[in-house]
Amino acid sequence: MEHSPPPFFRTGPTPLARLLIFSALSLAFLIADARFHYLVDLRQVAQVIVYPFQRIAAAPIGIAQRIGEFFVTHSSLREDNARLAQENFANAAALSQMKALQAENAQLRQLLDARERLGLAASTAEVLYSARDPFSRKVVVDRGSQHGVEAGQAVVDDRGVIGQVTRAYPWLAEVTLVTDKGHFVPVQNLRNGLRAVLAGTGNDGALELRFIPLNADFQNGDQLVTSGIDGVYPQGVPVAQVSHVERNAAQLFARITCTPLAGVANYNHVLIVQGKRELPRPPVEEPKTPRQRKARKG
């Protein structure tokens, strides 16, 4: 006892002891999260604490956008207007055609006694920021489980698939982009209906088709749409365009590089597709879709 310091000098455990305690705790968290996917609740709680900071930090970009919108010039507005009118005109024709096709489709489905495809409910969300993690491609959007967003839902924009909700917090959701390494989308070639799996590469603006035989019919400029067989992505949404095909006889598979069609790297609004689809669907549905899509496009 006579060797212990007076209370004035007592500072608790030594730095090394504290380092060991905190490191062990961190490592336990890391392993629990990476291997066993525990700690979901803890993450939710921490997210609620972090949420106000995230909103505050994301505010400047919103303010800057609003200021930018205020100073839009008259000529650019007129240009936009003319372009939109033209687009609207073109779309109206396609839309009327699609309505006819939809009616026909519904009738055929009833005739075939097939289950009707569920109408896809979608909610609009705003991209708050892209995650500042150089190892992954993710964005955070301002809709969460309070708005009915769940992990696994597909996220699209006006041009195509953006990605998939991977974590839903109460007021925010994390969307893993299609370009993320380890993200896969089942796709179909619009030209000939060939099915394939499109994988992200971790680079913005590059996707690749995996495990495609050398003689498979993929060409530059082919449009890839979701095949819908995963039950996550709705059927027939554009995903990417083939940009480079490399066939090397020394390799087992062809190297097919694609560019995403959606504004994957942009800050804007996205649609979260909330329609739940039940998976084991009757196999009769499958072969019809590519032909319909073709007709719709042409």
Partner: protein
């Protein structure tokens, strides 16, 4: 002969706890700003920088608790593996606490060199964890932020010491 590499010891007012908390929150917010593209590479890890600063300047006030908690919050905000920043910041805090007398003994460039090495170590820990978890090496630009943080070290030190400057004439202020 006076050795100019040794820092002259100034007499400063004590730091307020509220000020420390404010700088840590500001650093957290700075990290949460929507950085993208080249800005993401250049951006220093503000939380690591400020945690290291306070661990070196005020080792009795700021330490493992703050570093670890901020690390967890960073992991949640970034959606990364839970605990990777917590581990890196804890080790950074340890290095700061152990080396604080040594670092404060130097001035100018010598101090910056110490800081850059410590922040690079912080980056390296996160990198190793991510590569163990299956990520690819993101390229050497990943380390640029730490050098930017080193460049910010001296201006930041001057800025954060401003509230501690004694009043020139305390009796007739």
């Amino acid at each position: 002969m006076v050795d100019t590499r040794i820092a002259p010891h100034e007499i400063l007012l004590p730091v307020r706890a509220g000020f420390i908390a404010l700088t840590l929150i500001a650093a957290f917010l700075a990290n949460l700003l929507p950085w993208s593209g080249a800005g993401l590479w250049i951006k220093p890890d503000f939380v690591a920088l400020i945690v290291l600063y306070w661990c070196i300047e005020q080792p009795r006030r700021v330490g493992f608790g703050a570093a670890w908690l901020l690390g967890l919050f960073m992991d949640v905000a970034d959606g990364t593996l839970f605990g990777q920043h917590a581990l890196a910041y804890s080790i950074l805090a340890y290095a700061g606490l152990v080396l604080h007398r040594r670092v404060l003994g130097f001035t100018g460039t010598a101090q910056v060199v110490h800081v850059v090495v410590l922040l690079l170590m912080n980056d390296l820990i996160v990198l190793v964890i991510r590569m163990l978890a299956g990520a690819d090496f993101p390229g050497f630009q990943y380390f640029v932020g730490s050098f930017v943080a080193g460049a910010l070290w001296l201006p930041l030190g001057a800025l954060l010491k401003l509230p501690q400057q004694p009043k020139s004439d305390p009796y007739h202020a």
